[in-house]
């Protein structure tokens, strides 16, 4: 009798395809690429704004064209998935106690959605929509 432990190989590139929950995790992580891309677009817009009316008008024309609208829709979809998945796990990082009892996860997630709705409302009012 001898000891010869066998180590099962793990694919360093394909591990996330082996289980549904790993794939869902990777989908959540990939959304950050689109959040990042949209952030770059916003910074680009600010830069164009600083260059004067003509530069700003051409930037607005770009983002309101078919490609610009498609980019917005794709980013919106990924941002929504990012928000839903991250809000869903917030109770894990926030073990809130109230009167000696743990606040239910649904309340914490609901609180995040309420805050999101509030901030969105303020943005829409400020934007004059």
């Amino acid at each position: 009798m001898s000891r010869r432990p066998y180590v099962r190989p793990i694919s360093r590139t394909g591990w996330w395809t082996t289980q549904k929950r790993y794939t869902e995790y990777m989908a959540r992580e990939v959304t950050c690429v689109f959040i990042g891309a949209y952030t770059v677009l916003l910074v680009w817009g600010l830069m164009r704004l600083s260059q004067g009316q003509e530069a700003w008008d051409s930037f607005v024309a770009g983002i309101t064209g078919p490609v610009g609208i498609l980019f917005h829709l794709v980013c919106l979809a990924f941002a929504f998935y990012n928000t839903v998945t991250w809000f869903r796990v917030t109770p894990k990082a926030m073990p809130l106690m109230f009167k000696g009892k743990r606040v239910p996860g649904t309340v914490i997630v609901g609180g995040h959605w309420a805050a999101w709705a509030g901030v969105t409302l303020v943005v829409l009012i400020v934007a004059g929509i």
Partner: protein, 247 residues
């Protein structure tokens, strides 16, 4: 009372004769109330006495009978056959080396556990004459959930980071460290800080959350680790920004 015939495919590995593990099938006449562990015991008693696996209590307390059942880390004593199809694949827990058949090498888990000092570090040494510690229900509630761990290591088998990062301390050990940090009787937080915040500690967790999904005791190690990340971040800034505080 035999209810149905179930085909068990079990990953076998004999270090004395096998180069690599291989699947072996057994047809088992199963009782309606059986769990996977009962069927494996039946195989050992009636077909193949060389089949090796760990088990003890048969009631989801000892934490020894963890196996991959149809690809999911599971306590085989808790896996009722009525919830499974007529073919069941059983193999040793993922992310651990296989010692033999369904028995894994637990050295890495034991070493990780020792590193996080999973015991109460009191402010002053106490003797039995000093009496018991007192703790309010709220103080108990702060950590009780994380103290329910039975060291079954299902969370290690579920966590992709454990498989990819050799040194990662892993979910159960980190959750236990957080459990002691939250305990009002313990002052060992700074003694655990280095091991928790180093590369292989909480920051190696990418929050897949699989550990909490497979935990048979609802310990929720993913929650413990995220909370430990927040606590370590607050400590980091406190140590650098508040006067009179140093490590």
């Amino acid at each position: 009372m035999v209810d149905r015939q179930i085909e068990f495919k079990i990953l076998r590995y004999d270090p004395d004769s096998d180069e690599a593990p291989h699947w072996q099938s057994y047809s088992v006449p199963c009782d309606p109330d059986w769990v996977v562990l009962d069927a494996i015991n039946w195989i050992k008693d009636n077909v193949d006495e060389s089949l090796s696996y760990r088990w003890s209590c048969h009631m989801a307390v000892c934490g020894s009978c963890g196996m991959m059942v149809n690809g999911e880390p599971t306590l085989s004593c808790k896996a009722f056959l009525r919830d499974y199809p007529n073919t069941i694949e059983v193999e040793a827990l993922n992310n651990f080396p296989i010692e033999r058949d369904l028995v894994v090498v637990l050295d890495r888990f034991m070493e990780s556990l020792a590193k996080v000092k999973p015991y109460i570090i009191p402010k002053e040494p106490r003797t039995a004459e000093d009496g018991t510690y007192t703790q309010t229900p709220a103080q108990l509630k702060a950590f009780k959930q994380y103290s329910m761990c039975i060291n079954c290591t299902l969370c290690y088998a579920a966590c992709p980071q454990v498989g990819l990062e050799d040194g990662f301390l892993g979910p159960a050990a980190l959750a236990l460290a957080h459990r002691y940090n939250l305990d009002s009787r313990d002052v060992g937080r700074s003694a655990r800080e280095d091991v928790l915040t180093e590369h292989d500690g909480v920051w190696a967790c990418s929050f897949v959350g699989a550990c909490s999904q497979v935990c048979p005791k609802d310990v929720d190690p993913a929650a413990a680790i995220q909370q430990a990340k927040i606590a370590s971040t607050i400590d980091y800034f406190k140590e650098r920004l508040l006067p009179g505080r140093s490590r």
